[in-house]
């Protein structure tokens, strides 16, 4: 306990005494916490309610590093010098060159907290990013010469949401995989709709609409959605003639009954497609 007190002293920036004296409970202008039946810790100033919660949490949880802020449910209480909200969590996972990656992140996110969540991943509490995730990716890959993946989460408005937001990053990663999105940058904004659907499916049980069993048509439909149902752009992206694209869309309509050139059919098909994919994942 005495070793750990140093951590708490640094956290609260004041002297802390570990004592058995019963008189400790009667000291004025101090805050006293019972540790067990015999010991007390005496903090050399009055604490705010958040700081008091933090100390109780610290006593219960044996927190050893800063990353508990997001790794544990009540870990946010460690954030005594809390940064600005709202913020976003960015998870940066890398293969090697940890020191270089950290140096780059510290130089880019000069005002944000960077937490180490594993040997190969940092989470950044980004309040206002000067660069986009894709730019961070290219800086790290070109400067630290290591492959990386970035997941950016939903907006976090208050400290209590931090742990949930951290768990959501893993969910986003799994969801992107199940939807065959292999981008090195995965953003909550792009998966907002599938996330919502996933939670509905999980709460309501499973249906399995058998939508499509043709990888070429599946890819065509996804690229068509990516290009906002624009025939010309989709044909260009797939490097096929627009007539070939129209032929494939007609074929999709014959197979599924959805003419995804029409907005309502596109929505219905996309929903069914997502449900199909997610049911597979849930099963």
């Amino acid at each position: 306990m005495k070793d750990r007190l140093k951590e708490l002293e640094l956290l609260l920036e004041c002297d802390i005494e570990y004592t058995t004296e019963q008189s400790a409970t009667r000291r004025s202008n101090h805050t006293v916490f019972p540790v067990d039946g015999y010991h007390f810790i005496v903090i050399g100033r009055k604490l705010s309610s958040t700081e008091s919660k933090l100390v109780r949490y610290w006593l219960e949880k044996n927190i050893t590093n800063e990353s508990a802020i997001i790794l544990e449910e009540g870990g946010y209480l460690q954030l005594s010098k809390l940064q600005r909200f709202p913020l976003n969590l960015w998870r940066v996972a890398f293969k090697e060159n940890r020191e270089d990656v950290l140096a780059i992140l510290q130089s880019t996110f000069t005002k944000d907290v960077i937490l180490e969540v594993s040997q190969n991943a940092f989470v950044i509490l980004v309040s206002e990013s000067p660069v986009t995730p894709a730019e961070v990716l290219s800086i790290i890959e070109s400067e630290a010469l290591t492959s990386i993946h970035i997941i950016t989460g939903e907006r976090v408005n208050q400290p209590e949401e931090l742990h949930k937001a951290y768990l959501q990053l893993n969910q986003l990663n799994d969801l992107a995989k199940s939807l065959k999105q292999h981008s090195r940058v995965i953003r909550f904004e792009d998966l907002r709709f599938p996330m919502l659907l996933q939670s509905i499916l999980r709460s309501q049980g499973k249906q399995t609409p058998n939508i499509i069993n043709d990888s070429e048509l599946e890819q065509t439909a996804l690229v068509f959605f990516d290009h906002n149902l624009n025939i010309t752009e989709t044909a260009q992206a797939l490097f096929i003639h627009r007539n070939t694209l129209i032929y494939r869309l007609n074929k999709l309509e014959t197979m599924t009954g959805y003419d995804i050139r029409k907005f309502n059919d596109a929505i219905s098909f996309y929903l069914s497609y997502l449900m199909h994919k997610m049911n597979k994942e849930i099963v």
């Binding site: 780059i104 986009t132 961070v136 400067e143 630290a144 010469l145």
Partner: protein, 363 residues
């Protein structure tokens, strides 16, 4: 300086997707090799495998004389420039260029020497004290190139580095990159989906599709002698027209027959078709828009004009033949009207012939 060899390289992702299918490519020392193809063709994956950012499923990657399959990216002596060329926003241009060298623990004097030299090459000496937000798009791109140059790599790897620039700046930077390649005398491997970039910048071009190399050759050869219909259609704007027809002997020479209309074909092409036993058989006849001749009368295919596009120096004429759409490039001064009936013929020396089954050139 180094050459780069890809020997039977495969990349298969965890989900089974076969992104690169047994490619073989030798990039010569000091060469400017452009990998070009549509999105998803495997060009970026190939570049990332050269860098070591992507693992190799099978095959051998050789840089210089060393097999680098198991060599970490930072030990491959390469430098990368990406499309999203972000700079450290809080640092000066000098510090941005120095950052990578500091990570490598390069001595201060050497850092300064390398940055001064790179700044001179890129003509950004006067910008070294500025912050990124005080730079224009083109200047920022130069700084990003500077960051790569100061590493003194044996191979530069560039992944669509000009894609984020506007059209005018892109043309300007294209010329800058060619100059840079000439002055650095280093191997460049450059990925793009833009066939104009490929044609204008590459010493050689490697056209890829569906994880397979379609053709590797210098720009002229790629344009004039495409190996297959994919290359023929991908390289060149507007894209090559493809007609269905036959090659037939006619007297001492040869003709192409499209829907009963015959047009002359040069002797050499006809002879090759004959040697490959393709006379009288269904073929795909490829003609670039600039090799289509349009006239009011005479022998040829009777077509109807659909749309015309005046581009200043050229006039693109879209026409319909048997319900199919084609395009011709004409002189801008030619008067051609919407719905006009015209006769189309081809330059006999510039007709391409492809096997409709294999889509390979038979010339």
């Amino acid at each position: 300086m180094a050459k780069v060899s890809l020997v039977n390289i495969n990349k298969i992702y965890e989900n089974g997707f076969h992104a690169v299918k047994g490619i073989n490519l030798e990039i010569q020392d000091k060469e400017f090799m452009v990998l070009v193809g549509p999105s998803g063709c495997g060009k970026t994956t190939s570049l990332r495998m050269i860098a070591g950012l992507e693992g190799i499923s099978s095959g051998e990657m050789i840089i210089g004389d060393q097999v680098v399959n198991e060599v970490a990216p930072k030990d491959r002596n390469i430098a990368m420039v990406f499309q999203n060329y972000a700079l450290y926003p809080h640092m000066s241009v000098y510090d941005n260029m120095a950052f990578g060298l500091k990570l490598q623990k390069t001595p201060k004097d050497e850092i300064k020497e390398r940055i001064d030299k790179a700044a001179k090459i890129l003509d950004i000496e006067q910008l070294l004290t500025r912050k990124p937000k005080q730079l224009s798009g083109g200047q920022r791109q130069r700084v990003a190139l500077g960051r790569a140059i100061v590493r003194k790599p044996e191979v530069f790897l560039m992944d669509e580095p000009l894609s984020n620039l506007d059209a005018k700046l892109r043309v300007q930077m294209r010329a800058e990159l060619i100059k840079l390649h000439n002055s650095l005398e280093t191997t460049f491997v450059y990925v793009t989906h833009d066939q104009t970039e490929a044609m204008t910048m590459g010493t050689r071009i490697c056209v890829m599709n569906d994880g397979i190399i379609q053709q590797v050759a210098d720009p002229k050869t790629i344009y004039n002698h495409p190996a297959n219909m994919f290359v023929a259609g991908f390289i060149g704007a507007p894209q090559m027209n493809f007609f269905r027809g036959k090659v037939e002997a006619a007297g001492d020479g040869y003709v192409v027959n499209i829907d009963g209309t015959t047009l002359p074909l040069n002797q050499a092409s006809g002879a090759k078709a004959k040697a490959k036993d393709k006379l009288g058989k269904e073929l795909v006849i490829g003609v670039r828009p600039e090799n289509v001749r349009m006239s009011d009368s005479g022998a040829g295919l009777k077509v109807k004009v659909e749309v015309t596009e005046l581009l200043g120096s050229d006039l693109n004429v879209y026409f319909v033949l048997n319900g199919k759409h084609f395009i011709a490039k004409e002189d801008a001064n030619k008067e051609i009207a919407f719905n006009q009936d015209l006769v189309v013929s081809f330059d006999p020396e510039k007709i391409h012939l492809f096997d409709p089954e294999t889509e390979q050139s038979i010339l």
